[in-house]
């Protein structure tokens, strides 16, 4: 029985074809994985199925009847449930209250049925904000299943989960399919596909690069995803894609004294408890230290303490002997501390302004005419040089940041931070998030080059494989504390870190 059939679906934004004649057939009783790099059109496809955007061309049918939702409400009424990467739960309400917002009758009976059938029990009386991310995700799935949908679509559901939580999620998908439901799992992680999918479809550049695939080995799928053989793939990219076999960086002896020192940093949570608790961290020149961990365990606050967006309640930040704990961002920049923020659009750049301004906003004083006027011409020609040097694909220095792809925006941010002279320390949070393979390669190459040139580098990432391939040492953030450093090249490092990430003692 065919649950969902998509034929010739296209979506264009101006001159950009986000989806270009996509065909997809999902059978009931299967888990169908839709794979692709970031920017391949996966999210656009999800939005089209979920009714939150109207396709430019093409048709869809659901269990044999024509299906053309114009808004999410119509998709839900037709029996399609979506689970998005970002949760849509009210965090100040309890789980039960959140579920009651759906206004479905016989809530208790339905919940019992879900618990029986799929083992999906949720703590009804707890406040959502207090729950771990894995449990929130489960609530989100319960929410989707409450209306007993005929088709469940999950958009990158594992991005924020730890290894054990991913296992539980994949098991749930399997059970729903075995029970006769149709599940579409959208992801860019090959490891997950091999474990749960019956069939896979690969998108590349908005088109179907491979459909009805049942050989789910990485060797088969990678060339379809990236359009070139897997052998070309740098080991670090394999890490990003979630492949199990990761080549770690050779162990190197770091004998220099640390240049960045965090001592006893604590940040208290407004309602009590700690966001960061007694964090110590030392990084030597030329060393790359990774911070692993499931998101929300203090990594964001750690970067904010470094960038100056947050003053810790206790502890000190020292860079090359200078106390920067309470320094302004300008002072930190002058001291040679470059920060690539986690949220590109919020802190990393001003999307509405042009590329040149985003590169030089902190140094406008250097581009003046007649002492008072801004020399836009000089600024733009300097920006043009940076755009060429860093291989940034942009219409020009006067193009707004928002016209650039995520990968190129990240290259601009990184180029700006790397331009510090001297660059003593670089802290990068989730530097490769949302980037396609080519951009990941470029960004990681730049970070490595910065370390080779003598900068102390801190990388926060939720991609464990990426950290192992990039870093000398990895520490794990768990509930605001940092673990002992684990040498990335040491045997068993991967398992040890994976355990620490979920709070189990290794």
């Amino acid at each position: 029985m065919i649950a969902l059939e998509i034929a010739g679906l296209s979506k264009t934004y101006g001159s950009v074809r986000a989806l270009d004649g996509v065909d997809l057939t999902v059978e009931a009783g299967t888990v169908h994985c839709v794979l692709g790099e970031n920017g391949a059109g996966k999210s656009t496809l999800c939005h089209a199925v979920g009714g939150s955007l109207t396709p430019s061309a093409g048709s869809m049918s659901l269990f044999g009847t024509r299906y053309a939702p114009r808004r999410p409400k119509e998709a839900i009424a037709a029996g399609v449930a979506m689970v998005h990467q970002h949760f849509s739960l009210v965090s100040t309400l309890t789980v039960a209250e959140n579920l009651r917002l759906l206004r479905v009758g016989g809530l208790a009976a339905r919940l019992e049925r879900l618990a029986d059938r799929y083992g999906l029990a949720v703590p009804l009386d707890e406040t959502v904000g207090d729950l771990p991310l894995g449990v929130r995700q489960r609530v989100e799935i319960v929410k989707a299943l409450l209306r007993e949908p005929r088709l469940l679509v999950l958009d990158e559901p594992t991005g924020v989960l730890g290894p054990a939580e991913v296992d539980a999620l994949l098991t749930t998908c399997r059970r729903i399919a075995d029970d006769g439901g149709a599940v579409v799992l959208v992801t860019h992680k090959l490891g997950e596909v091999a474990r749960v999918a019956d069939v896979a479809t690969v998108l590349r550049g908005g088109k179907v690069a491979g459909s009805g695939l049942t050989d789910l080995s990485a060797d088969n799928l990678i060339p379809l995803m990236i359009g070139r053989p897997a052998d070309d793939l740098a080991p670090v990219l394999a890490g990003t894609l979630g492949l199990s076999e990761v080549v770690v960086r050779d162990e190197r002896a770091i004998d220099q004294a640390p240049v960045l020192s965090l001592r006893d940093i604590s940040v208290t949570r407004p309602g009590g408890g700690y966001l960061l608790e007694n964090v110590d961290l030392d990084i030597a020149p030329g060393e790359i230290v990774g911070v692993a961990g499931v998101e929300g365990n203090g990594q964001t606050e750690l970067i904010h303490v470094l960038s100056g967006a947050l003053v810790p309640d206790a502890g000190t930040v020292e860079l090359a002997g200078e106390d920067l704990t309470r320094a302004t961002p300008a002072r930190r920049t002058a001291a040679g501390l470059g920060v690539v923020p986690e949220d590109r659009h919020h802190e990393g750049c001003v999307p509405e302004l042009d590329v040149a301004t985003n590169l030089y906003l902190g140094r406008l004083g250097e581009y003046r005419r007649f002492h008072v006027l801004l020399d836009k011409k000089a600024m733009r020609s300097a920006a043009t040089a940076v755009i060429e040097k860093h291989g940034i694909s942009a219409p020009g220095p006067a193009a707004p940041m928002s016209a650039l792809s995520g990968g190129n925006q990240q290259k601009v941010v990184l180029a700006r931070e790397l331009a510090l002279d001297p660059l003593v320390c670089l802290a990068a949070a989730q530097p490769t998030r949302g980037l396609d393979v080519g951009a990941v390669d470029a960004v990681l190459g730049r970070i490595r080059a910065a370390a080779a040139a003598g900068a102390a580098v801190l990388v926060v990432s939720s991609e464990l494989g990426e950290l192992l391939a990039l870093c000398d040492r990895v520490v794990v953030a768990y509930r605001g504390k940092l673990s002992e450093a684990i040498v990335a090249a040491a045997p068993g490092a991967h398992d040890k870190i994976a355990h620490l990430m979920i709070g189990a003692t290794a």
Partner: protein, 347 residues
């Protein structure tokens, strides 16, 4: 085709026609034929040198306030406090002017009054600016509420003899200040029959300087960056608090200078209701101009003309001047509503 229909200029023209028709209907309701009403309106706007001069003066006050609004708006702040800043600027301007000796020359007296007015308005707006920068209090709320406090300061100043009230000689002494010395009064420009003063030149100069600063200086670009993203601007080392307080202070300063200009215009006294709501009309001008200083000047001129035309409408044609306010408000509503529509088209 649809894109052309959604073009802002087209939408603005349609809004103006609809508002004008509503105005004519109101006039007809008051028993005046459209031809008579239009005649009276045009007469009041530009019919005599006096009409032109007073329209220009009103337009200049609105343009000063709207230019200031645009500066703060660029930094992401909405200054709703033009009226209060104008009142306080009027008080400080009058205080400075009255402190000058009677024989002060114009090249000293006028700048002193203007600078005092600017400083008063800027200080008043800085209260809201500091609260915003240090405590995150919404500037919309604080500037709005400071309007009432500013009006109170003005009332106190003109009612208390110890402050700015003219010496009380009888029960009929009005609660207003003594007239400013001749050297502190704004000089007239143009013909003797026209009341247009130096404020017209000042307003155009202010609009030009604001346009230049916002478009062509590092400060303008920094303000723009803070307006779009305070977080990213802070990360990049900009003094976000300084820029926010500064932006709001300039907005208040220009409103305060406008207040001082009003005091330094005939009859040269500070009275309780010397403003007649310019602060709020200036805010509307700033909002409608949406960051363009050319639009600030054009809309301020339109509103200046309509205000004076409305007064004549009442005097000559017997149509209540309030009907012009209805037309103005209708215009604002229509344009504001159409913004949603034009934006939808752009998406």
């Amino acid at each position: 085709m649809i894109a052309a229909v959604r073009h802002p200029v087209f939408v603005g023209a349609v809004a103006a026609i609809v508002a004008a028709c509503a105005g004519l209907l109101l006039a007809a309701g008051a028993g005046t034929s459209p031809a008579v009403a239009v005649d009276a309106l045009v007469e009041g706007m530009t019919g005599t040198p006096y009409a032109i001069g007073s329209s220009l003066n009103t337009a200049a006050v609105l343009a000063l306030i709207a230019a200031g609004f645009t500066v703060a708006y660029r930094a992401g702040l909405v200054n709703v406090g033009g009226e209060g800043q104008l009142c306080v600027g009027g008080v400080t301007g009058a205080a400075a002017g009255l402190a000058l000796p009677q024989g002060v020359p114009g090249w000293i007296g006028v700048p002193v009054v203007l600078i005092a007015g600017f400083a008063g308005g800027a200080a008043w707006a800085s209260i809201a600016g500091l609260l915003k920068a240090k405590r995150g209090t919404s500037e919309v709320i604080t500037t709005l509420l400071l309007n009432f406090v500013g009006a109170g300061v003005l009332a106190l100043a003109v009612h208390e003899e110890a402050l700015l009230r003219q010496p009380v000689t009888s029960a009929e002494t009005l609660p207003q200040s003594a007239p400013l010395p001749p050297g502190a009064r704004l000089p007239l420009i143009g013909s003797i029959e026209s009341p247009a003063t130096l404020i017209v030149v000042l307003a155009v100069a202010a609009a030009l300087i604001v346009a230049l600063v916002l478009r062509h200086t590092p400060t303008g670009l920094r303000l723009t960056a803070v307006g779009h993203s305070p977080a990213a601007s802070a990360r990049l080392g900009l003094g976000v608090a300084r820029l926010e307080v500064g932006g709001l202070a300039v907005a208040g300063g220009l409103a305060g200078a406008a207040g001082a200009c009003l005091v330094a215009t005939a009859p040269y006294v500070l009275a309780e209701h010397f403003s007649s709501g310019y602060g709020f009309t200036g805010l509307v001008v700033g909002l409608l101009a949406r960051g363009s200083l050319t639009a600030v000047l054009a809309i301020a001129l339109l509103f200046g003309l309509l205000t004076n035309g409305g007064i004549n409408l009442q005097l000559a044609a017997g149509v209540p001047a309030a009907s012009v306010q209805v037309v103005q408000s209708l215009l604002v509503l229509l344009i504001a509503a159409s913004m949603i529509w034009t934006r939808k088209g752009a998406r």
